[in-house]
């Protein structure tokens, strides 16, 4: 392996060790902790962790989309096209495709 190769790390790893994603292995935890910002809130049931055992798994959870308007398919499609409007021909084709049996 060339020296330059050894110094490369993929962007996924950079996100993980910088705290943007959860670390995946021991070495990433070590680097991650240097960037870890302590949360101002205490962990759940800090004073009585045994409550966690009694409570069991919390099943009713959902991911909220913070500060994001509900994005319609149309909006996201437009974003994917870099903000350009869809042409009549493409729209027609899409409508036809949607009607096709799956």
């Amino acid at each position: 392996m060339k020296k330059s190769d050894k110094n490369k790390v993929d962007l996924a790893k950079a996100f993980r060790i910088n705290g943007l994603l959860l670390p995946a292995d021991e070495s990433e935890v070590e680097a991650f902790e240097r960037n870890l910002e302590a949360d101002s809130n205490d962990p759940i049931d800090w004073n009585d962790p045994v409550k966690i055992i009694a409570r069991g798994r919390v099943k009713k959870m959902s991911l909220k989309k913070n500060d994001i308007d509900d994005s319609s398919v149309e909006n996201l499609s437009m974003a994917a096209r870099d903000g350009k409007n869809i042409s009549e021909n493409v729209r027609k084709k899409m409508n036809e495709d949607r009607k096709k049996p799956k």
Partner: protein, 215 residues
């Protein structure tokens, strides 16, 4: 004398024989590692734009419940691991990651997921993007700034794809399908958003931080 993680987990595993001992061991383990996990989960949720206190509490709850339910799943191997503390933190981080994966799946309906498969090569691989480790490893600000150029939705899509990135492999089809359902869109759109977001991030890192992206 302070007990090792493995010792504590062993006591927890014997909860049917010694209930009080197991509770005490669990409490000790929790007090030692919950702050790390709580902060890591909060940071992760914030960076993905899905933070709320209840979510963090629930993920931490479920991770430690899992630890309590399957304490012997953690194995410290002195030859493989260099620190029991870091190895355990990596393990609970992995469980938390799985919780987020379940969350994404459970936040959507499964109506269109079944039967979907992704052809190899449809989603380009992240390994194309590499940066200088010594510069980027301590440059959280640069990454934050690069990501701040994206909308919350695009950031969520990009980071979720990265979250399940494995070297040399495509984004798992299950994750892509979950994203499609979550955002109510199609795989080609997710692919386009991801590609463009990646280009923006890469371009910022090249220009502002003077990083050299390696293709």
């Amino acid at each position: 004398m302070e007990q090792s993680v493995e010792d504590l987990l062993l006591v927890i595993s014997e909860q049917e024989i010694d209930v009080d001992g197991a509770k005490k061991a669990f409490t000790e383990l929790y007090r030692k590692y919950a702050i790390f996990l709580n902060s890591a989960v909060a940071m992760h949720a914030k960076s993905k734009g899905v933070y709320d206190k209840n979510l963090v509490d629930n993920v931490v709850n479920n991770v430690f419940f899992e630890v309590h339910a399957h304490p012997l799943n953690f194995v410290f191997d002195e030859e493989r691991h260099k620190s029991e503390e870091f190895a355990f933190k990596a393990w609970i981080s992995q469980i938390a990651r799985n919780e987020f994966s379940d969350l994404l799946r459970n936040s959507i309906t499964y109506s269109t997921i079944q039967g979907h498969t992704i052809d190899d090569g449809i989603i380009e691989r992240f390994a194309e993007i590499e940066v200088e480790e010594e510069i980027l490893s301590d440059n959280r600000k640069a990454l934050d700034k690069a990501l701040s150029m994206l909308s919350d939705r695009d950031k969520h899509i990009l980071l979720t794809c990265f979250d399940y990135y494995e070297d040399g492999k495509n984004t798992p089809s299950e994750v892509l399908n979950s994203l499609c359902e979550y955002w109510g869109t199609t795989k080609p759109n997710i692919r386009q958003v991801k590609k463009r977001s990646l280009e923006k991030v890469k371009s910022y890192l090249e220009k502002a931080v003077n990083l050299k992206a390696i293709k």
